[in-house]
Amino acid sequence: MRIPRGDLLRSRVVDDPATTLSTALDRRLTGYAVFEPQDAILLDDETRGVLTFEAGIPTLAYCTDTDRGGADALNDLAGPGPYSVDLYELDRADLAEAHEADDLRVPPGLPAERLAADRDLVTRTREAAPEERLGDDADAVATFLEDEAGIEAIREQARAEARARAEEWGLTDALDD
């Protein structure tokens, strides 16, 4: 993915990528964010993820380390955080060429879902997204279901949560071991 360098708006460490996604959305930012997981910095790793925005709506995702795009790139990036994030502004025209790469596209709400598991932000993002970005719902849902690792992560988390809460509610004896 080739993107011209934009104007750096902010550079900071965030615990939760939702902070960055929310900033981009609220500013209706056209540009991109570069996410670098902090564990990658410690390990001297080169994992970096780029997420582009059009008027605040996530458009493309790409992971430099794995050379994967779209939902796969988000999976590669997802982690416990924190992340070092640089947020850049760019002219829409400068992103046009990159935005032709359909295989890197992500549904508008997927970054908030995958990186932040922030359902309110998913909803806010989808509400702000133009109609044509939401038109491929079946595609987005099919893509979501193609992602076996992502689905397994949801299930794993639900299992752990179910067990923890069973303990809280005195239901452990009802658990199926």
């Binding site: 879902e113 359902r119 909803t123 849902v141 099919a142 279901l145 299992r159 069973a166 239901l171 009802a174």
Partner: protein
Amino acid sequence: MRNSSPMVEAFAVASGKGGTGKTTSALALGMALAADHDVTVVDADTGMANLLFHAGLDDASTTLHDLLIEEEGSAVEDAVYERFGMKVVPCGTELAAFRAADPERLRDVVAELAADTDVLLLDSPAALGSKSAVLPVVLADRTVIVLQPTIPALSDGLKVQEYARSYGTETAGTLFNRVRDEAGIERVAERAERYFGGETLGVIPESDAARAARTAGEPLLAHAPDAPASRAFREAAKRLDVRDGASGSGDVADRFRSAVVPEEV
């Protein structure tokens, strides 16, 4: 009590997310199954009851809430209403009653209802955040998960499935409800089947009739029996293989009483 015919299966009709049409689905499956079975539908969504509105029971004098409050001393049969060919147990909508209710009493109510019916459908809360919300899937033999072809609804459906499985409650099948994009749903349903237990029982088209039925205080299948959505629900009910959840374990009421939550120690 009818112990001579101990065949009963309890299904939790569940979805992690609100707005999927869970109550409409529970009553539609109930009415369709009532053609061949003795069916009881229970509004187990004690925090946000709405089945009573769907079944024309707004003025029900005794509800599940009364059964869950010990001091009320109501008999289970007082909260059972014969409607539309099935037995319906509505829940009240008063917050005070919800607060006073003891969720654990649901186990005894289900046990007693199970002794006198073939199919028990528990309309379950669209939440997993409290004991009362989770108890229906704990108590049920299997779940029917109501989905919509959206990412949030599928994620939440997966979560409900894992919660239920944690308590040994397997998925009987899924229902895709309120479907608008009939062309895209095939791909979605086919992929979803890889992750959900059972089969896709049905794909129910979005329907104005469902809204009109709710306004009229009637289940969809009574209000608009020929609507495409009603036909799809009847087909879905046919695919649901009702088993005897009690197989080999003796008295049904005992099964629910003993299967679940231990007494407080």
